[in-house]
């Protein structure tokens, strides 16, 4: 894309919803002029013309200025498209390596199945690799191979090479010690599918890896990066989220985390701004297992959704509704459908965080941005609540919504300088401020944990801080304030202390002071849990009980 046109269209073809945004050059800067979110399957040209009619009806001069009347059909389009995650078959020399590889693949955009030579015979393993549904094979061992793997990896390589010979079109990744088996594959250039050598998966929990995880400038897991590249094409919005969040962090000069909940996969990305001439490296996890509406909702998924639901429902009925959500994600959104989406979104977010946890020592981001079609059926003020129900992280962060689904298309701009320039122009428009969330940890149960003074516009208001609850301060979008916390006892709020003064910004949900447990504890009894969840939601969600 060049900067010559006066306007362009950013289109995100999701698997559940399609988003069309019109970006125009106004007073020398790119601005979001308007956007539409429609069910997947809507014809894009009709959507573009609807957008043009609406923009023209609101501001004819602006529409004329950016060439809407004459150039709409020839306007540049920045398009990204989500596709169903592909299937990766993983075979390993040991259960330990298999578990690590499954974990890496699960957060690298793949639907993964696996087996190890310790538990699976060669017949079943061959059957798994030859399954028509399999799009790639990953075989791995530790590097150097662990004692329990050493005797098995040669035979495993022979097995995989034989399967690869029968499916020459699919790529094969040999990770870590499995590289020793490369000779079994013969001349790898003769087959259409690549044979790729990759480093071993980083073992979780090892001291060196943990230290690397805590360092924001450290490169991410090379095997995970490779698998992401194989899993998702360049125009996949989930892959583009890494670049988008880095550009956003650079444009805003803030630590940014992105949570994208999708119909087929969810995304967690984080980035710190470039500092001292060193470019930041975003962390990106694409987790198909954390989709909002899994293809086959098993008991674990149903129980998790039920656990977050404010509506009474038996397992069978809930499974029916989750299946319907999978089949027609845009349908049945009003009424109980909204409550179902709220519960399904929280359950998906829980799976996302479990699959892609915070590295140890990660500071709270300054800004948490969330994206995804599921949020279009949930009132914006309640979105922040859904996030903090799961993201139990002591500290203070601002929350925002990528309401026009622009991050995917902008992240797909290939030139990083142009991406940064466009992101810098659009950052304010693309983020709908949900509000600020302050979450202290270590509160003692009791009648009062202290008080909160809000200093805004020369006035001060005071609130009592009651442990276990949510305090909501009305702070509209665009407003700022200083929140002064005076706790009776020492708490954790980024640092440990009793007295904190925090700059907070307003949003659609205002300032949310979350005094609930970290991590959150919910009653075991379903009716009490539902009542509690409803009570928390009520303050932020007018009509949420409908």
């Amino acid at each position: 894309m060049t900067t010559d046109p006066r306007a362009f269209l950013a289109i995100d073809h999701g698997t559940a919803t399609t988003s069309v945004a019109l970006i125009g050059l106004v007073a020398g800067a790119w601005r979001l002029i308007g956007s539409l979110a429609l069910p997947a399957g809507a014809e894009i040209d009709s959507a573009v013309h609807l957008l043009r009619r609406r923009v023209t009806a609101v501001d004819r001069d602006l529409a004329h200025g950016i060439g809407l009347a004459t150039e709409i059909d020839s306007m540049p389009r920045l398009e990204v498209r989500s596709r169903r995650p592909r299937r990766l078959a993983i075979v390993a020399g040991s259960e330990r390596t298999l578990s690590t590889l499954l974990g890496v693949a699960a957060r690298s955009g793949w639907r993964a199945t696996g087996a190890s030579v310790e538990t699976t015979d060669p017949l079943a393993m061959t059957g798994m690799l030859l399954d028509r549904d399999v799009d790639a094979i990953l075989t791995g061992a530790s590097d150097p191979p662990a004692p329990e793997e050493r005797g098995a990896i040669r035979e495993l390589a022979a097995l995989v090479a034989a399967a690869a010979a029968r499916r020459p079109e699919i790529p094969v990744v040999l990770a870590g010690g499995m590289a020793e088996g490369l000779a079994e594959f013969g001349l790898s250039t003769e087959r259409p599918g690549e044979i790729v050598l990759a480093p071993a998966a980083r073992q979780p929990g090892r001291h060196r890896a943990a230290a690397a995880d805590a360092d924001p400038s450290a490169p991410s897991d090379p095997l995970a990066d490779l698998l992401l590249e194989l899993a998702l094409p360049d125009d996949d919005p989930r892959r583009a989220m890494g670049a988008a969040v880095q550009a956003l962090a650079d444009a805003l000069d803030r630590r940014v985390e992105l949570i994208g909940l999708g119909h087929d996969a969810s995304v967690r990305a984080s980035a710190s701004p470039a500092a001292g001439g060193v470019e930041g490296t975003p962390r990106l996890a694409v987790v198909p297992g954390a989709s909002v509406a899994p293809e086959e909702p098993d008991d674990a998924v149903i129980d998790a959704v039920s656990g977050w639901s404010t509506l009474p429902s038996d397992r069978h009925r809930l499974r029916d509704r989750m299946r319907e959500l999978r089949i027609a994600p845009s349908a049945d959104a009003p009424g109980e459908g909204t409550a179902l989406r709220m519960a399904a979104a929280r359950a998906a977010l829980h799976r996302l965080i479990a699959a892609a946890p915070d590295p140890p020592g990660t500071p709270s981001p300054d800004l948490v941005v969330t994206a995804g079609g599921v949020w279009s059926a949930i009132p914006a003020p309640a979105v922040a609540l859904a996030l903090v129900d799961i993201l139990r992280r002591p500290g203070a962060s601002q929350f925002a919504l990528d309401h026009a689904r622009l991050l995917g298309p902008l992240g797909a701009i290939p030139d990083p300088h142009e991406r940064l320039a466009v992101m810098g122009d659009l950052a304010d428009d693309l983020l709908a401020p949900l509000g600020s969330v302050v979450m202290p940890a270590g509160l003692h149960a009791g009648r009062s944990a202290g008080n909160l003074l809000i200093h805004a516009d020369g006035a001060t208001s005071e609130l009592d801080l009651v442990p276990g609850g949510l305090e909501l301060v009305d702070l509209p979008p665009g407003a700022t304030a200083v929140a002064e916390f005076r706790f009776r006892d020492t708490v954790r709020l980024g640092a440990r202390g009793r007295h904190f003064a925090i700059d907070v910004a307003g949003g659609l949900g205002g300032l949310l002071v979350d005094l609930r447990d970290v991590p959150l504890r919910l009653p075991d009894r379903a009716d009490r849990r539902r009542d509690l969840l409803s009570a928390w939601q009520r303050a932020l969600w007018a009509g949420g009980d409908a």
Binding site: L50, R323, I327, A331, D332
Partner: protein
Amino acid sequence: MTTTAEDEIRLVAVHRLVESGVEIAFPLAPGDRPLVEVGESVTAGAPIAEQLRNGALQDQPVPAGPDTRPGGRVQAGELLFEWRGRWRTVGGDVWESIESPVAGTVREATPGSGIVITTAGQAIRGIVALGGPTRGRLHVAAGADGELRAGGLDVGLAGTILVVGSRIDAETLTRARAMGIRGIVVAGLASKARRDYLASEARQRAALHRLPPFAVLVLDGAMRRPLASPLLDVLAALEGREVAIVGDPPALLFDAWDLELPAPARDLVRIRGGDLIGREGRWLGLVGQRRFPGGIHLEAASVRLRDGSVVAVSLGDVERFV
């Protein structure tokens, strides 16, 4: 419809009624024997593979020959891979024939992986098919909003594929299979009925019983709703014809090139969620953002239902047929 309404209806999700050139797949496990080759034409009922029901892993020396390669066959069975001068093979002696339910051309035949056939006829896609493949005469046994009970089945229906309307329970499915009915086409199948039916089928398979060909094709979802009238019109037009149900992709296949299938009105839309699920009407146009129960604002459309009433529904709640 006005020009604007005609343009706006293109924003509605499309439900494609009939497709052609659909590729159907039959999975093969190591040891299964494909009987067809790529490019070969197959007719309905022709055997395309033999499925090995008791495959066992063996390890033996195999003399070198033209078929000595992974996937090749020797007397002992299928070759998997060579290891230290010997071959791991899979063999057995209990076979079950897989027949093509429709005519078509073999596009892919990979031992141990699968067979893909490009069908010569047309297809109505569903959202899931349990069991199959199967074929039989199509019979519309219940109306759009009907429900077939176990007591409503009789032996005269053996060999047919029944269209049963809005939903069916597991007991009726099991009884239908036992009575020689070849398949069921239904709008919705509840998760409980699906689980109970699959458990019954798994028990039979575990006993290595050869099951009679039978499949359930679910067209819409898990909730009860009437069959879409354009679909029912097509199915009614196919009454008495040989049709087939396959699982990958889930679809009803038929050959009706000689028949002019009824086409739906261009402005016909169907509501696919909420209290009005399954209701049909005429598209009137978009009405902009509306506030809906639950406190959410969604793009809305106006629809005149068949009883004459006009309702505003979320755009995501409607589908059109092409």
